[in-house]
């Protein structure tokens, strides 16, 4: 290879890649509005992003998979644990994570910051990013919903979940609300006893939790609900 060819390789390689990259950048920027629901990106979301940066959250947590790897990814945090759990962790990490082997700093956020960050996470959760991360993939939850529907007729626990309107706060499959954590997530994380105890007196297990006590149910009923929720995690291979 002569020097002339070598120089040609340099310019052809560099410029072709650059032109392709800039052209795709131009197109990507046009598509971002639709892919990220820019119409819902209001001032509160922006304020939340500023607070998120001010407190350096991203050097422990990943978001969209980028950042520190020391704490859970926040891309779908809103759908996974819901508004109440997010707020409790932001306001009182020292009590919310008292039993955890990994701690989150108490940064004394203002009420405004807590609301803003929650709005920010809610908006991030809706970004169309090809269904990443896999553990929060909606396809995965769908299988648990199918199971619930299949067993609802014969499972008394499923009937109890309907009767007590759990899904007016919690998500299950693609149904329910994001006020509390998603039931599949609880099932993967907690035992049936813990769930039964929590149902009896949430305040005792998780101080500051907004969930009401279900002490009108019998201990046996609470345990049944616990076993049912734990069983939901089985579909994820645990």
């Amino acid at each position: 290879m002569g020097e002339k060819t070598a120089k040609w390789v340099f310019w052809a390689g560099t410029l072709s890649s650059l032109v392709l990259f800039l052209a795709l950048t131009f197109d990507t920027n046009k598509q971002f509005a639709a892919l990220t629901n820019a119409d819902r990106l209001d001032e509160q979301v922006v304020a939340g992003k500023r607070a998120f940066e001010r407190h350096n959250c991203n050097d422990c947590h990943t978001i969209l998979g980028f950042g520190g790897y020391y704490a859970p990814d926040l891309t779908r945090a809103y759908r996974r644990v819901g508004e109440d759990a997010i707020k409790r962790r932001l306001e009182h990490p020292e009590t919310a994570l008292a039993a955890s082997y990994r701690k989150m700093p108490q940064q004394h956020l203002s009420q405004q910051e807590v609301t803003d960050i929650t709005a920010f996470l809610r908006w991030v959760g809706e970004i169309d990013n090809h269904d990443w991360p896999p553990q929060d993939s909606t396809a995965r939850w769908k299988r648990s919903t199918d199971r619930l529907l299949a067993s609802a007729s014969m499972s008394p626990a499923a009937a109890l979940i309907q009767q007590e309107s759990c899904l007016s706060c919690h998500a299950l499959g693609d149904r329910g609300e994001s006020k509390g954590p998603r039931l599949e997530w609880i099932g993967a994380r907690r035992g049936a006893d813990y769930i039964a105890q929590y149902l009896a007196d949430p305040e005792k297990v998780a101080p500051g939790a907004e969930m009401p006590a279900f002490d009108h149910l019998s201990q046996g009923q609470r345990e049944m609900i616990g076993e049912f929720i734990v069983a939901l995690a089985g579909l994820q291979g645990r």
Binding site: A6, G13, R54
Partner: protein, 445 residues
């Protein structure tokens, strides 16, 4: 050393080495935070996030100061003139070190831009820009006045201008998180897989010409090809970071294909080094400098080329993205590509700045330093890789919640920490050895 102004490189090397030594204990603290429970009272005043910001910013700062020192050493010899403004080079060092140290102390008090790797607050960004402009002006004016252009110089200046330009994309506040990360990678990816590679290729070519005595024409010809391939794969290869941030689906194809080609230019660099060594007209001395040089090209290929390729394809990256797999690749590639590059250059340049006869020096401690650090970093990267594969399987495939999946990983982070202690010992030896380099005993006798 042929030109007097080349000696401004030395203080750059000293500051750079001291910051390197500080980076390692911070890393040990991070590893400990993974394997042990740090009490709430400690986390409240010194969170993991702060330690991570310090660990990574020290790395960037010392690597850049090392590159700058190397540039100040290299440019007079390439152009055949003195530097345009050697005093300004020292002022620039003072400005950038002061800015860097202020930033790092600021992190301790929560003064941060709050974006990973780009935590330096915006007011300080402007001081960095001033420092970069001083640097580029000094180098460019020296080259223009000399009117002598070589491919090595071109690659170096091109890389430095590219580096400075990309930094600007990291300064603004972006309202949209996806857009934010899109341009964040213009700084981070286009630095390490673009600008840094240009600078590295120039520094390696320069050292190879000087150390092997191979004809400049041959080295420079292959430098063009290397650079062409680096930029061809590296620029569009940025797409491998755009898979899951809310960008269109075509990035899975573009990122996947271009970044799968990224190992080739590194392989060419390995081949070029090997060819130059075979056609050498001078003996391979000093031995330690060559240990570093060969170590660098090999670990550059393993860390950046192989460990990078391992998780760059979208169907694999869907599961590994944002896990310890990335951390494993990050540590080994930075070490192979840029840490060893700087250290090789220091071992090449310091004996010459100090006018040791034949550029040789007393090597013994240096060998210990090299092997401890290198084996330590390799062991650490393997432990990170095990942690990463576990995390990928438990969290991403099995769907276990993050904190449940982290439990078995804590042991592997302990293994990381143990290797970190070996790295610390190695780095302290390297830094001490380089700062107290002596001519060989036979020469002093």
């Amino acid at each position: 050393m042929t030109y007097k102004s080349q000696s401004v490189a030395y203080p750059y090397f000293v500051v750079s080495l001291l910051l390197f030594a500080l980076q390692i204990p911070m890393g040990l603290w991070l590893a400990a935070s993974y394997s042990f429970t740090i009490p709430q009272s400690v986390v409240d005043v010194f969170p993991f996030a702060t330690a991570r910001a310090i660990h990574t910013n020290l790395l960037v700062l010392w690597l850049l100061l090392g590159f700058m020192g190397a540039t100040f050493y290299l440019v007079p010899e390439e152009t055949g003139t003195e530097l345009a403004w050697p005093k300004m080079a020292l002022a620039q060092l003072a400005l950038l070190s002061a800015t860097g140290v202020t930033a790092i102390v600021g992190f301790l008090f929560g003064w941060t831009q709050g974006r990973p790797l780009l935590e330096i607050p915006r007011p300080l960004d402007f001081l960095v820009v001033i420092g970069a402009l001083m640097f580029l002006a000094n180098i460019a004016v020296t080259m223009i006045r000399a009117k002598r252009w070589t491919a090595v110089q071109g690659s170096l200046l091109g890389g430095l201008v590219f580096l400075a330009l990309m930094y600007l994309f990291g300064i603004p506040f972006y309202r949209n998180l996806a857009v934010d990360w899109y341009y964040w990678w213009w700084v981070v990816h286009l630095w390490v897989e673009g600008a840094f590679e240009l600078i590295a290729a120039a520094m390696v070519a320069f050292m190879l010409i000087k150390l092997t005595g191979v004809d400049r024409k041959v080295v420079e010809k292959w430098l063009y090809v290397e650079l062409g391939l680096f930029l061809f794969t590296g620029i569009a290869g940025t797409g491998h970071h755009y898979y899951w941030l809310g960008a269109p689906r075509y990035w899975l194809w573009v990122g996947g294909i271009f970044s799968a080609l990224e190992p080739f230019p590194i392989l060419l660099m390995v081949y070029d080094t090997w060819r130059d060594v075979r056609h050498r007209t001078q003996p391979l001395l000093p031995r330690l400098t060559w240990v570093y040089m060969i170590g660098m090209v090999i670990i550059h290929f393993i860390g950046a080329g192989m460990f990078g390729f391992a998780h760059t394809l979208p169907m694999i990256n869907y599961y590994t993205h944002g896990s310890q797999v990335t951390v494993s690749h990050g540590h080994l590639s930075f070490y192979g590509a840029y840490v060893l590059l700087n250290l090789t250059f220091f071992y090449f340049a310091i004996p010459r700045i100090k006018n040791f006869p034949g550029g040789s020096y007393e090597e013994k401690t240096g060998h210990w330093g090299f092997w401890l650090t290198t084996l330590g970093v390799m062991g650490m990267s393997l432990a990170f890789a095990v942690a990463g594969v576990l995390q990928t399987y438990l969290e991403r495939v099995q769907g276990e919640p993050y904190i449940v999946a982290q439990q078995p990983i804590r042991f592997w982070m302990f293994v990381v920490g143990v290797h970190g202690l070996v790295v610390l010992a190695g780095v302290l030896l390297v830094v001490k050895h380089l700062l107290t380099l002596r001519p060989p005993r036979a020469a002093t006798a």
